[in-house]
């Protein structure tokens, strides 16, 4: 019966080509526009590390004295001071954790035939690689011992390894970062992410770093951050050492806490640390305050999905609604024109249910066609987005769930549009039409 209905609807579509094409286009354009904005939205709000987003946490401390104001929702600075990051790392606990910040070096081999290039780098401790599950192609992260006593080691990314060493195993070789030689201990896969969730400082969709060096290099080579540095009180800085001891916040920190109990234990550790610091003259406030957000909460807190995009998604769904109203009108015209035919079918014994089903199937066929054409239009739209803004290169794409969502939304839209016309036409009284034949 279902196949028969499909056959009937294809015949019907063929007999009214103009109106059918118009309907398919109306759905396609509505779906195309909606899917364009929805895809970008979907990519922006996607969980970047689904199986661990509840486990990886970012601690924040309210370092300000009583009365200090910060521009965050909960009045706590986004980043940590250097001393707090180091102290939290060195605290006696087993949770994998690492401070981190973005900087950069000129990279060369100290030979005239390779021109130095500028590469962004990330300063981290070795736990960073396991927390964020960075897969190594060659070698492994540096050891704890190395990062403490022999820190001139580096993990390079696949693309740098390809450029400088033709993709060969370069572990054990040396490269120059600025004017110092670093031994390569590992080659890690390029980090292909949509959202740079581990460091939102330079924009949530910034490109990943291609070099990793031990955090302990920072004080030795006096490496400054490429991200933000913020302060809450007036401090006179005199050189790099005073930056390290200052109350300026510029270091990120990640800790992996797998269970609620671990989270509680780490919270207690933070609290104890703050009380200890308070006794040493810092944190002059009535209520010690900290935050411990997981990746999902962190992205929300940092408002990663842009306002513009939310507005666009809302507006495009309204647009889809207009398209639905249009299709409803067209369907009414189409179905009612066919009332005499329906009258005859009813007279020959088709039940209302049958008539209704037949028309809903027809609407669905149109909806499906519109949905598929809509994907094409959405691809066009996404291409437009990518060419307008390079920033969206990785974001303006449709993944499988979005490809499936397009026909689903199209079917739902056409179903909503078809419900009333189909109901109207199935109530046709056979007698009227039989009379005038």
């Amino acid at each position: 019966m279902f196949l028969h209905y499909i056959d009937l609807s294809i015949r019907s579509i063929k007999s009214t080509p103009v109106i059918s094409v118009l309907m398919v286009f109306a759905i396609a354009i509505g779906i195309g526009l909606t899917m364009t904005s929805l895809s970008v939205f979907h990519m922006m709000s996607m969980d970047p590390i689904p199986h661990k987003s509840q486990a990886i946490h970012f601690p924040q401390l309210n370092i300000m004295d009583e009365g200090g104001e910060w521009h965050t929702d909960d009045n706590i600075p986004y980043q940590l001071t250097y001393q707090d990051a180091i102290n939290l790392y060195n605290a006696d606990a087993d949770f994998p954790r690492s401070p981190s910040f973005r900087s950069g070096f000129s990279v060369h081999l100290n030979t005239p035939d390779v021109k130095p290039t500028m590469e962004p780098a990330r300063l981290v401790y070795q736990e960073f690689f396991s927390i964020f599950e960075r897969p190594f192609i060659f070698g492994a992260p540096w050891s704890k011992e190395e990062q403490q006593s022999k820190p001139y080691v580096v993990v390079i990314s696949e693309s740098i390894n390809n450029r400088l060493f033709n993709g060969q195993n370069s572990v054990g070789k040396s490269i120059y970062l600025d004017n110092k030689s670093y031994r390569i201990v590992g080659v890690v896969e390029d980090w292909d992410h949509h959202i740079k969730y581990y460091d939102l400082n330079n924009g949530a969709f910034n490109s990943p770093e291609k070099l990793y060096v031990p955090f302990s290099i920072a004080p030795l080579e006096e490496i400054g951050t490429w991200g933000n540095t913020n302060g809450w009180k007036h401090e006179t800085l005199n050189g790099y050492q005073s930056l390290l001891q200052s109350e300026l916040v510029w270091v990120q920190f990640w800790v992996q806490l797998n269970t609620a109990a671990e989270k509680e234990a780490f919270s207690a550790l933070i609290m104890a640390y703050m009380e200890d610091q308070q006794s040493k003259g810092r944190f002059n406030r009535d209520n010690l305050q900290y935050a411990l957000r997981n990746v999902t909460q962190w992205l929300k807190y940092n408002q990663v999905v842009s306002e513009d995009n939310r507005i666009l998604v809302g507006l495009s769904f309204m647009f889809l609604l207009v398209c639905v109203a249009n299709i409803l009108g067209l369907l009414l015209a189409k179905f009612l024109k066919r009332a005499p035919e329906v009258g005859v079918r009813r007279a020959l014994g088709a039940s209302k249910k049958h008539i209704f089903a037949q028309h809903i199937v027809e609407v669905s066929v149109i909806g499906l066609a519109g949905g598929i054409l809509g994907i094409v239009i959405a691809q066009l739209g996404l291409w437009g987005v990518r060419t307008t803004n390079r920033y969206y290169e990785a974001l303006a794409t449709m993944d499988v769930s979005m490809l499936l969502a397009a026909p689903t939304i199209a079917l739902m839209a056409s179903f909503i549009a078809g419900l009333y016309p189909a109901w109207l036409v199935c109530r046709t009284q056979p007698a009227i039409y039989l009379k005038s034949q």
Binding site: I19, L22, A26, I29, G30, L33, T36, S37, G104, F105, S106, P116, T117, M118, D178, N179, H234, T236, N238, S306, E307, D308, R310, I311, L312, L315, S316, M318, F319, L321, V322, C323, A325, N326, L328, G329, L330, L332, A333, L336, K337, G381, G384, V385, T388, N389, R390, Y391, Y392, Y420, S436
Partner: protein, 402 residues
């Protein structure tokens, strides 16, 4: 005269068509007026003057890793070299490049900091007396820095400069109409005398209310990573940009040159999200209006095909063609008016929702009125074609099938 009563009665018989039309018009009005308002918002920002001669300026980053030179002396040598390249007007080492989205700002006060006084945030460029010339901004009052006023060093509070040039917007906001020339502002604890006021000079963050509060502070602290801005003859810029890397490296090669970019290119990449939003909204508006027009066309056509017999009868009873056309125009106008009124309310409601949820200004009246007028005209145009066709229905139709 306009037969409103009978038309209204006829509409009550076929509610669905009218309701659909009304819904479309109301929704379209609400969406289009808000979208148009947002488009205008983005457009007026994009058209704003930045004060810089963008097509004559380019900038690049300079990362020095060699440790065997004095960065300040090298900067002097580089500046000299660049200024001597044919086609170059001026060049300057600077800590932040305008319009790129990366720079520095501080708070400025009327009295030294522990004291309570009026304070404003202030974006600043740290560079020497060549800055005005390189930027191409207009000096309204006062004078440029003298070479001896430019301070080289790292201790701003202790041995910093004593002078500053500020933008007109900052001067007006800080001193509320009084002339700023000769007045002193405090940046951290250092007093700076305002010796010049420039017309428009945007900050590194041209979007936002504070983008016009800018200053040039003659304090040079060359870092391993520094930025250089070069102004050339507009026609020479491309050729200078091509040779600059080699020229810089031939001076000294323990360094890397990155991001050689024209100023408008930097501005464009900073603005990319605005442009994107604007384009998407424009596409939305155009297609939405087209779809609604098609919808009106379709529905009128549908109404007419349902009423072929009535129209024939009316014609047979003496109605002229113009009466038939008028009937449909009035009918459409009635639905349209209701749709526009409700749509305008919906527009303001939507505008309010958007304003509360996001950083958007309140929807202005003229956008709703403009949209309403536009949609009204469009819907009348859309109804005319089918109405003319209806008028051509022959009176004989009425008699044929009875």
């Amino acid at each position: 005269m306009l037969e409103i009563k009978p038309i209204f009665n006829a509409l009550r018989r076929s509610k669905v068509g009218a309701i659909l039309l009304f819904l479309q018009i109301a929704l379209t009005t609400a969406v289009v007026s808000n979208a148009a308002f947002m488009i205008n918002d983005h457009l007026s920002y994009l058209k704003e003057d930045t004060g810089f001669v963008q097509q004559e300026i380019f900038s690049f980053g300079l990362m020095t890793f060699g440790k065997d030179i004095d960065l300040h002396q090298q900067a002097e040598r580089d500046e000299d070299m660049i200024r001597r390249i044919p086609g170059v007007i001026d060049a300057v080492f600077i800590q932040a490049v305008p319009l790129t989205g990366g720079g520095s700002s501080t708070s400025s006060h009327l009295r030294p900091p522990p004291e309570e006084s009026k304070s404003l945030s202030l974006a600043y460029y740290n560079a020497d007396e060549h800055t005005l010339d390189t930027f191409g901004v207009t000096l309204l009052e006062g004078r440029n820095f003298r070479p001896e006023e430019v301070v080289i060093g790292s201790d701003f509070d202790g041995h910093g400069p004593n002078t500053v040039i500020v933008s007109q917007a900052y001067a007006q906001e800080m001193f509320e109409g009084e002339s700023a020339l000769g007045k002193t502002i405090y940046v951290s604890s250092r007093p700076l005398e305002i010796i010049g006021v420039v017309e428009t000079m945007k900050s590194p963050w041209p979007r936002g209310d504070r983008s016009s509060r800018t200053s040039i502070i003659p304090f040079i602290n060359v870092q391993n990573f520094h930025r250089v801005m070069v102004r050339t003859e507009a026609s020479e810029r491309d050729s200078v940009m091509k040779v600059i890397e080699d020229k810089m490296l031939s001076q000294y090669d323990q360094r890397v040159i990155i991001n050689i970019r024209g100023l408008e290119e930097s501005k464009n990449s900073y603005d990319a999200t605005d442009v994107l939003m604007m384009r998407m909204l424009m596409v939305l508006v155009v297609i939405l209006v087209l779809v609604t027009a098609l919808g009106i066309l379709g529905l009128t056509q549908f109404n007419i095909s349902k009423r072929t017999k009535q129209i024939g009868t009316r014609r047979a009873l003496g109605a002229r063609k113009s009466d038939i056309i008028r009937y449909f125009l009035v009918e459409n106008a009635m639905i349209c008016t209701v749709g526009l009124v409700i749509g305008s309310f919906a527009a303001f409601f939507l505008g309010r929702v958007l304003m509360n949820a996001y950083s958007i200004n309140a929807l202005e009246m003229q956008f709703v009125i403009g949209t309403a007028v536009g949609i009204c005209v469009m819907s009348l145009l859309a109804v005319i074609v089918p109405a003319m066709r209806a008028a051509n229905i022959s009176p004989s139709i009425a008699t044929r099938s009875i």
